[in-house]
């Protein structure tokens, strides 16, 4: 029993990582189970009980339209995590593919071209482009193949694309050093095709630094989503997100409704702390040589 517990904590990279993993589980659980966990409908307006401080009925108080802040925080977390997680998934797929391709064709013109394009993409400041592009495209919903998606789809697509150069470079560096390793030369001599070596030998070795980096990017995604929503270009009201809740709260800074700004902000901080703790722990376990680095918005 104790040994199993030790093994789990060890896999998360020590006590910090374990704490982070636990917090993450709570947050993800809340996000997935939002319809059942949230005590009220996050959109239900009730002007009579507007701007109520926290009490037994509304643990986190109510906002200017009498909506339950706790319910909105839970649903807002769902939006933030969705955007961030999908962006990371897109980034990982694209980044790993590009990185492997550049590593695979190393020495050729394709490698050079890929690296230059990645350089150019890496020279895009994320937050500004996110704000500007959503601004240019407008905050309306997106229709793709008959389905309607919220404005945040633009945000997560852009984030995903802009995550790619970072993940690609990590994959590329690892792939390059791996493909120069002796075991790859040995496989080549056995007559195994290059593509197969790439996918079955090199790729698995590139994954640990990518996983660590993906964890860190997840945290950055949450901060960017909330920042963009804060200036009104992310998740659109009345749908709650931590960022647009803070934008509402800004109007009540001077009148003392502290609960409106404290709870959503604390949730952002808490999830970012959790992810960072988990990421640091994972890095100790998966990437002792520290090939990954902290990049940020």
């Amino acid at each position: 029993m104790i040994r199993t517990a030790r093994r789990i904590i060890g896999a998360c990279g020590g006590a910090g990582g374990f704490l982070g993993a636990c917090l993450m589980l709570v947050l993800i659980g809340d996000a997935i189970l939002a319809p059942w966990v949230a005590p009220y409908d996050p959109l239900k307006v009730d002007m009579i009980s507007a701007l109520q401080p926290p009490d037994a009925m509304h643990w986190f108080g109510t906002d200017q339209s009498g909506r339950d802040v706790l319910s909105r925080v839970i649903w807002g977390g769902r939006a933030s995590l969705q955007v961030s997680a999908l962006a990371v998934i897109i980034g990982c797929f694209g980044g790993v593919t590009l990185g492997l391709a550049a590593g695979f064709f190393s020495g050729g013109w394709l490698e050079q071209a890929l690296m230059r394009v990645l350089d150019a993409m890496a020279s895009i400041p994320l937050l500004i482009w996110a704000i500007a592009l959503v601004g240019i495209l407008g905050v309306g919903p997106v229709r793709i193949a008959g389905l309607t998606f919220g404005n945040e789809v633009k945000l997560l697509a852009l984030l995903g694309v802009l995550y790619m150069p970072n993940l690609a470079r990590i994959t590329y560096t690892t792939a390059l050093s791996e493909s120069r390793a002796n075991y790859v030369a040995a496989r080549r001599l056995q007559g195994v095709s290059g593509l197969r070596i790439m996918l079955s030998d090199v790729l698995p070795n590139c994954l640990s630094p990518v996983i660590v980096q993906a964890t860190l990017l997840l945290a950055i995604g949450i901060v960017i989503e909330s920042s963009v929503s804060f200036v009104g270009l992310g998740v659109q009201p009345p749908q709650p997100s931590w960022g647009n809740m803070l934008a509402d709260a800004r109007n009540y800074l001077f009148s003392g409704e502290w609960w409106m700004s404290v709870f959503p902000g604390a949730c952002i901080s808490l999830s970012v702390i959790a992810i960072n703790l988990l990421g640091d722990g994972l890095r100790d376990v998966l990437d002792p040589r520290h090939r990954t680095s902290t990049v940020a918005a």
Partner: protein, 316 residues
């Protein structure tokens, strides 16, 4: 060294060109034509055609792009807003200094603080000082600046009257007043990179301290401060790279922080331009941001080439 400089500068220019092309074509790809935005929905075809001819919008997109780029390269001319008719560069140069001041102050503060804190943390590893610095650093990377800004405004401007809750007092109102008005914004802007850079300085210095050449430096009986300089020459390389990026990213964060504090900097210009759908201006502001970002990275690369030529070569 000079060759490296040219090479890097060339790549940066190439990046800038690719990125500005993306930007230009994106703004041209949206369904709303500038003419419709300016003239409204109920105008005749002839009026639309007239507007497009006047503004050179009837030419092929590639030609428009070439004209735009040539204007920037030769005259620093970012074009003219279709909405207000004013030059984009003059709009930007009105608000850029405000943002620039915030970012520069925040940047140098975070570099200084993180260098001191990160070095102290590494040298006093596993002491109470180290733990305290690391704890603050974890909080710093996790607490979003704009929320911190809201909390600090509640704490120091609403509850206590220490700092103004927003706006930037001009320098003409007195240096003290001016500094007082930028304390909270620069702190909220700088805290994130203060924390990121402290963590990096610490990690990188610890790694270098364990290397063979540090043992050599001690075996040569060099004074302690000299040994530290020897270590920093090596450990600062990754830190400088991230510091260079952070300068550019801080402009992005500044957009949000300026919004919280109601400061009329570039963010005001950009968000206003978005609201008015003034794409020439949006495009110009974003290009300026991107240019600063690329320039900062270039400066970081060159600083590294000076700090540690071998590492710089390896990453070139």
């Amino acid at each position: 060294m000079f060759g490296l400089l040219l090479r890097r500068a060339g790549f940066s220019l190439l990046s800038l060109l690719i990125v500005s092309a993306c930007l230009f074509f994106l703004t041209r790809a949206i369904p709303d034509s500038p003419a419709r935005i300016v003239l409204g929905q109920d105008v005749t075809e002839a009026q639309l055609a007239q507007f497009e001819r006047d503004n050179g919008l009837d030419r092929p997109v590639l030609v428009q792009f070439a004209t735009w780029v040539t204007g920037i390269a030769t005259r620093g001319d970012l074009g003219r807003s279709f909405i207000t008719g004013r030059a984009v560069s003059s709009e930007i140069s009105r608000t850029l200094p405000v943002t620039l001041e915030l970012v520069v102050v925040a940047f140098f503060l975070s570099c200084l603080v993180s260098l001191l804190a990160g070095t102290a943390s590494a040298l006093l590893r596993d002491t109470i000082v180290d733990y305290a610095i690391r704890l603050v650093a974890v909080l710093g990377v996790s607490v979003p600046g704009f929320w911190l800004a809201l909390v600090l405004i509640m704490g120091f401007s609403v509850d206590r009257d220490w700092f103004p809750p927003g706006g930037m007092t001009p320098l003409s109102a007195g240096l003290g007043e001016h500094i007082n008005s930028i304390v909270l914004p620069t702190f909220c802007l700088g805290i994130f990179y203060m924390a990121v850079l402290s963590r990096m300085t610490r990690a990188s210095l610890l790694e270098v301290l364990g290397q063979d050449f540090m043992r050599t430096a001690r075996a040569l009986g060099l004074p302690r401060w000299k040994v530290l300089v020897y270590a920093l020459r090596n450990s600062l390389v990754p830190v400088v790279t991230i510091a260079g990026m952070s300068f550019g990213y801080m402009f992005g964060l500044a957009l949000i922080i300026e919004t919280v504090f109601n400061i009329n900097g570039l963010s005001y210009t950009l968000l206003n331009a978005i609201r008015q759908r003034d794409f020439m201006l949006v495009q110009g502001v974003v290009l300026v941001f991107t240019f600063v970002f690329i320039l900062a990275n270039l400066v970081a690369d060159l600083t590294n080439a000076w700090l540690n030529p071998r590492l710089a070569m390896a990453t070139a």
